[in-house]
Structures are given as structure tokens and as C-alpha cells.
């Protein structure tokens, strides 16, 4: 977990209607996490959750997998999974629970010189306005070579990106994941997204 801030309260509260299972990461919390805000949110909604687990470094897929399996029945019962971590952690849990709607509870904010502690299959640009809740837990900024926010470009061939035959088309992955959780209509319903780059400029001039 890098620097995170709680997502917009209204957005988060609506997730609790779904009796979520909650993953909390305390991996890089010495950097900064929205500890108190998250504590309060969970306390206020404690009757509306189906389970909660707190782990160090959710970003380690093999490690998180053990817990996803351990809590599989609670997760199965839950209407969604909320992850309080950086974008990497959310994407790992989304991959491990690919038939569940996995939502980010936090935005990951830009932090000079800090990119997490180990290499991972997923990347987070610390953009400060996490898009994972629109895209089935797969980041369009890092999974799409063009960082497109509003759908695939049409440049993919056989599921591979035009940039490299080694790279999957991120939007095809997003579409397939959303289809798996029965949310592909979200692609249509989402408002047109335009990124605010101020949040990733060193010095954060916003």
C-alpha cells in the first residue's frame, strides 16, 4: 500500500448495500494509508459486511491466494469484495476472485520515488483517481498501452495489442472480466472519462 485516500464517501457507502467481503492491506502502511477513515467506515457499517481480513502486502499473489481460498465461503456469500489497498492489491484480488465484483475502496495517490516493494504482474500508476471500479478490477492505464479510458481502440489482433504480440489487449481483458461478473453493460453506462494529470505531476499542483 502506498499513499491512499478513501474514495468518495457516497460511492463507497453504496458498496456496503451489497454485503461486501473486505480485504485490508497493511503492507506499506508506514508510507501512509487512510487508516482512520477506513476504520470509521468499517465501524459505521459493521452490520453490513459479510467478512473482513487484514493482510500485509496483498500485492503478493501467492500469499493473497491462500486467504482468498481460506475465506472462500464468506466471499461467495458477499455481493462484492471491497479492497482497501493500492491499485496493485485491488488488481491481485480481482484476479483471484474473478467471478466476483471487486471494488477499490481507495484512490492511490502519486508518491515520488516510491513504487512498492517488489515486482508484480500488475501495475499502478498512482493516478489518484482509481478507475478499477469501472473496469472490473483491471487497470486501463497500465493494461492498455495507450491508457485508454473509454474502451478498446480497435488495434488488437487475436487478443494481442498492436504494440507487441506479447501483450494482451487490456480492454479485451476488461471486457471479458466484466462479462464474467455480468457487468459488461457498465462499459456502456460509464460516463466519458477524462483523466486529471495534475495528480501525477511531481509537486501535485492540484
Amino acid at each position: 500500500m502506498l499513499i491512499t485516500k478513501l474514495k468518495d464517501k457516497e460511492e463507497i457507502i453504496s458498496f456496503f448495500d451489497l454485503q461486501p467481503f473486505i480485504f485490508r492491506c497493511s503492507g506499506c502502511e508506514e508510507v501512509y494509508s487512510a487508516e482512520e477513515d477506513i476504520d470509521k467506515l468499517i465501524e459505521d457499517n459493521k452490520d453490513r459486511i459479510s467478512g473482513i481480513v487484514r493482510l500485509d502486502y496483498l500485492c503478493r499473489e501467492e500469499f493473497s491466494k491462500v486467504y482468498v481460498e481460506k475465506y472462500s465461503s464468506e466471499i461467495e456469500r458477499a455481493g462484492c469484495v471491497i479492497v482497501f489497498s493500492c491499485g496493485v492489491g485491488v488488481q491481485v484480488i480481482a484476479k483471484l476472485c474473478e467471478r466476483k465484483r471487486v471494488l477499490a475502496g481507495c484512490d492511490t495517490c502519486y508518491l515520488n520515488g516510491f513504487q512498492g516493494l517488489s515486482t508484480q504482474n500488475f501495475d499502478c500508476q498512482q493516478c489518484g483517481e482509481c478507475y478499477l471500479n469501472y473496469t472490473g478490477g483491471i487497470c486501463p492505464l497500465t493494461a492498455c498501452s495507450k491508457g485508454l479510458l473509454n474502451g478498446p481502440c480497435g488495434g488488437a489482433k487475436n487478443g494481442k495489442c498492436e504494440v507487441s504480440p506479447e501483450m494482451d489487449c487490456g480492454w479485451e481483458l476488461i471486457y471479458k472480466r466484466l462479462k464474467k461478473i455480468g457487468k459488461e453493460e457498465m462499459l456502456k453506462k460509464n460516463k466519458v472519462l477524462v483523466r486529471d494529470y495534475r495528480r501525477t505531476i511531481p509537486g501535485n499542483p492540484e
Partner: protein
């Protein structure tokens, strides 16, 4: 109102052409060809925007040249090379010059072109670019500042009917319409049956579609496209048909294009001809298509 808009609203079958600006400042050849083979034969001519990410003369300048020749241009605009400041500014510039048809595209990635070291932009994408045009038309810019005089565009977008999977393409097409797209030109289509199915799936959208025809230049080119070009699939029969002596290729290519257009004519509102330099064949294709 642009001639293109008028033609599409008129309900007839509309033909558009396309030219690619050259690398270097000699425009004589493309302008001469446009005069000879496109003027009066097509309703409007798309001018590509640094196509395939290969550096060349800009679309805006060539659009202006066409306009001077009384050929109506369609200004193709990709999001690869300009951020939202430059895109909005160029949209205003286009309008000031009298260029009102704009086609919004994402753009090929820079590494596919001849300056692979450059920084790709993609600050906006095809959907948000369309929405940006709509915003400018409302008299405001993207951050809600008032404009001293608002432009008005005929806004186009692209769709790939042979895309696999197709559903995300259609979803994006719907988003583009919601963002302001008023017409569509498609990626190259070589299979009328497949196109018919596509048109059925988008029949609820009620927006004019011009089917894209890229002239096949050889069997080798068709095979290359099948292997390398996204959303293009040339059936084996056409590749076989194109396997003719070199001197017969143009004739065969025109014949195939004409036949495809005849087959698809009743399914859509027009055809967008992409000749990849074979502009000379445009009048022959139109004739072969019986238009």
C-alpha cells in the same frame, strides 16, 4: 451544413474518398490526383492524420488545400500526437479555415511508425475527443471557459465490423454516438455476409454508416493484412482471385471492390474508398459498383 451531411441526410448512397499527405512538401501529385480522380466523383475526401504514425505533412494543411480546390475535406484527427490543448486549438483552427467535417480516431501507437522513440500522447481518446467537439460547439472549452464564437462540426467516428470480439466495438460505437458522433466510416470490409450481420446488430443505432473499402493491391498484401492489420480479414477466395499476373492486378482489384460495394450497397448509407495511392482507380470502382 457540409455537403457530406447534406448528402447523408438526403438519403442517397454516399461515396467518400481518402488521401494520405506525403512525406515532404511536394503536394503536386496528390492534389493533381485529387483533382482528376476525386473531385466531383466523391462527396468528401478524408485526409489522414500522420497515418500509421509515419511523420508527414499534416492533415489540416492538406484539408485546406482541398478546400481551395472546392473539394470537401474530412479532417481526420487522432489523439496520438496532441494533448487536449492542441486538439481543441486545432479544432478551432479547422473551423476557422472552413473545415467542418471531423473524424475522431484514437491513432496507431507511435512504435508502429517511423519515429518509434517518440512520446505517445493519448491525453484524450476517440470518445472524449467527440465529446470535446460537442463541448466546443456549446460555446465552452473542456474546462468550461467561454469561447468567443463557437464552432460547429459534422462529427464522424470509426468502427471495425470484423472485430473479434465484436461486442466491445459495438458498445464503444454506442458511446461514440452518445458523445456526439453523427456518422461512421468503417475499417476495411471484405465479407458482405459478415457486414450484414454487423449492420443488423447496430440497426438500433440509427446513424449513417459508410462501409470501408480498401483496394487489394496483391495477394501478398491481402495475406499481410490478415496477419498484421487489426480488424481486417480477407477471405481466402479473394486472395485466390487476386493471384493474377502483375499487370492484371489493378483490374482485378477494381472488379472485387465494385462487387463488394454492390453486395453491401443496400445494407448501409455509403462507402468510404481507401485506395492507398491508387486514386486513379476511384472512378473505375464507382463505375464497377454501378453507382
Amino acid at each position: 451544413m457540409t455537403r457530406l451531411k447534406k448528402a447523408l441526410e438526403g438519403g442517397g448512397f454516399v461515396v467518400t474518398g481518402e488521401i494520405g499527405p506525403p512525406k515532404g512538401v511536394n503536394l503536386e501529385k496528390i492534389l493533381e490526383e485529387a483533382e482528376k480522380y476525386l473531385r466531383g466523383k466523391v462527396v468528401a475526401v478524408n485526409v489522414t492524420d500522420i497515418q500509421s504514425a509515419v511523420m508527414r505533412v499534416g492533415s489540416l494543411a492538406v484539408c485546406q488545400k482541398l478546400l481551395e480546390m472546392d473539394i470537401e475535406p474530412v479532417f481526420q484527427m487522432t489523439c496520438r500526437d496532441r494533448n487536449r490543448l492542441a486538439l481543441q486549438s486545432d479544432l478551432l483552427s479547422a473551423y476557422v479555415l472552413g473545415i467542418k467535417n471531423v473524424l475522431a480516431l484514437t491513432g496507431d501507437y507511435v512504435t508502429l511508425g517511423d519515429h518509434p522513440q517518440s512520446k505517445p500522447v493519448f491525453d484524450l481518446d476517440s470518445v472524449s475527443l467527440l465529446e470535446t467537439m460537442k463541448k466546443l460547439e456549446s460555446g465552452k472549452d473542456l474546462t468550461d471557459n467561454e469561447l468567443d464564437g463557437a464552432p460547429s462540426f459534422f462529427k464522424g467516428a470509426v468502427v471495425t465490423p470484423a472485430s473479434d470480439p465484436l461486442e466491445p466495438q459495438i458498445i464503444k460505437m454506442e458511446k461514440k454516438i452518445e458523445a456526439g458522433a453523427q456518422f461512421f466510416q468503417t475499417q476495411a470490409v471484405y465479407d458482405a455476409k459478415q457486414f450484414e450481420e454487423f449492420m443488423k446488430k447496430v440497426s438500433h443505432l440509427n446513424v449513417p454508416v459508410l462501409v470501408g473499402i480498401v483496394l487489394l493491391k496483391s495477394a501478398g498484401m491481402a495475406k499481410f493484412m490478415n496477419e498484421n492489420v487489426a480488424g481486417v480479414s480477407v477471405p481466402d477466395e479473394l486472395i485466390k482471385e487476386m493471384t493474377v499476373p502483375k499487370e492484371d492486378r489493378r483490374k482485378k482489384s477494381v472488379e472485387i471492390a465494385g462487387r463488394l460495394i454492390r453486395e453491401m450497397k443496400d445494407m448501409c448509407q455509403g462507402v468510404h474508398l481507401m485506395t492507398l495511392g491508387w486514386d486513379k482507380e476511384v472512378p473505375l470502382v464507382i463505375e464497377a459498383a454501378g453507382l
